[in-house]
Amino acid sequence: MTAAAAASGQLGSINLGARRRRRIAVVLLVGPALLVVGGALLVPALNLLVQSFMESSGYGQITYHFTFSNYTAALQDPVYRKVAWHSFGLGALAALICVAAGYPAAYFITFRLRRGRNLALFLVVVSLFTSYLVRLYAWYTILGGHGIVNTALIRLGVVSHPLLFLLFSRTAVLIAFVNVFLPYSVLMLTSSMQNIRPDVLENARDLGAGPLRTFSRIVLPLSMTGAIGAFAYTFILTSGDYITPSLLGGTSSTSLANIVSDEFVALGNRPAGAAISFVMLTVFFLVYLGLTRLDRFKGF
């Protein structure tokens, strides 16, 4: 063996050692996270998928016998269907209102504020972090029979008895949804509008475009990513929510998530609940896919 060959062999083994050390480092660094997310989410999710194809045999009992019946029930049961339309409809409405109501505020924060912009964005973030549950409770007291709205209406002589339909209604759920998710819309819209150069807007104005035309031809298409993100996020989290409908919706607006939750907790039929939840996930995924196609929107 020549000296050169020996040297290159040694070099190779050093490289091999370094590579092995790098591989060990990667495993040690990334391994724990993968292990925990795999064990605490991936495995339970796959388990849920398997269960959705099994038969329920009494409260909390599962017979391991393959069946599609949970899915046919989830897709064909008229009660489920009605509730599904309600849930997805309310979610879509909340998402639409959040995006539409968020636009003027995001526009103002991005293009009209200079020194106040950081403060405004900070306030938006603060409102994101003010407890979801506390805000629901706040609306509960505001809209209730002895709440501020009813007391004010009675004192002003508009009505003589408290309006009991304010609370425990789909309207109450919708108001709370918009209250909770509007800050996300403002934040996402602001961050995508920050990529629009203000001189583009000035040019449009100089070329004779009015405010509406500037908005629909420039601001809207260029901030579409933010609008899609805000709509998808709000739609998924509101139509999959069960806390808000169960606190503010009363019996008038059972949500799909409440049905899933009832199947699991009250009725002990996990396969049925699992199948409905996978149908929901599929709808969310399809809606998201459809929305991303809007990204190529070029204005009216």
């Binding site: 990667v26 660094l29 605490a40 989410l41 103002f108 007291t141 505001i142």
Partner: protein, 259 residues
């Protein structure tokens, strides 16, 4: 010509902020009310609802339980998330993109799905539901947020500093401990505070994974479901204060860094 439009937008934005903050302001205000009324007129300042809360073993236990879950979640997430963040940004390995996606994806799942997946898994493996099962749920829920904060900080990091340390003879461990960690520490703290607030407020996954011992949001939820009790105003204000103190200190941190 454009003046009135500008002020129109201004008024609108103020109204949006009023809509966002007014409900919460009312809860905080009425938590100091002398009487049990939940509406105006305000009858005078009193701390009686706070005394009621702090004298109630139900609420006290719930505060302790929430703190316990949040602190354990923060500690585990910071360690596991920081390691993963360093691994994904500092090493180029096969499947890196998939690993990143796998760690971020749970953030896009509705709480309902995570909750029922964990519940049926725990039932099937005969794990007794407790604050530990709640902590597992919280971990899965908050890890993506922390991972996002850490990786975005590490990507803005000046690699030259690490190379310089290595050229000067520092091994990988010394480089990590003496150079990388001190530089990303403010982001780790900010991420930890965000994680604390998320866990402190969490109610969706907790609802499914909770055992005999309740966390604070769950106690509020079940109290409101039964009746309107004015002490809920006080406990809600405490819950709010708990999460806001942490977010506000992140703001302080950011300001401190800029100076």
């Amino acid at each position: 010509m454009s003046r009135p439009r500008v002020s129109g937008l201004f008024v609108y934005t103020i109204l949006v902020f009023a809509f966002l903050f007014a409900p919460i302001a009312l809860v905080v205000l009425f938590s100091f009310n002398k009487t049990a009324a939940l509406t105006f007129p305000f009858h005078g300042f009193s701390l009686r609802w706070y005394r009621a809360v702090l004298n109630s073993p139900l609420y006290r236990d719930a505060i302790v339980a929430s703190l316990r879950v949040a602190v354990i979640t923060v500690v585990v997430v910071v360690v596991v998330g920081t390691l993963a963040g360093i691994g994904v940004t500092r090493y180029d390995f096969r499947g890196r993109g998939i690993v990143r996606l796998f760690l971020l994806f749970p953030g896009a799942l509705p709480g309902l799905f995570v909750g029922i997946a964990l519940l049926s898994f725990f039932v099937q493996t005969k794990v007794t539901l407790s604050l530990w099962t709640v902590t597992v749920g919280h971990f899965v829920y908050v890890l993506p947020y922390f991972f996002l904060v850490v990786t975005s900080r590490l990507q803005r990091f000046d690699y030259v500093l690490e190379e310089a340390a290595r050229d000067l003879g520092a091994g990988p461990w010394a480089t990590l401990r003496r150079v990388t960690l001190p530089l990303i520490a403010p982001s780790l703290i900010a991420g930890a505070l965000v994680v604390f607030s998320l866990s402190w407020d969490e109610v969706f996954i907790t609802f499914f994974t909770i055992g005999a011992q309740n966390t604070l949001p769950l106690v509020i939820y079940s109290t409101v479901k039964q009746s309107v009790d004015p002490s809920v105003n006080a406990i809600s204000t405490l819950l709010l204060a708990g999460s806001l103190v942490f977010v506000l200190s992140v703001r302080r941190l950011v300001v401190d860094l800029q100076q």
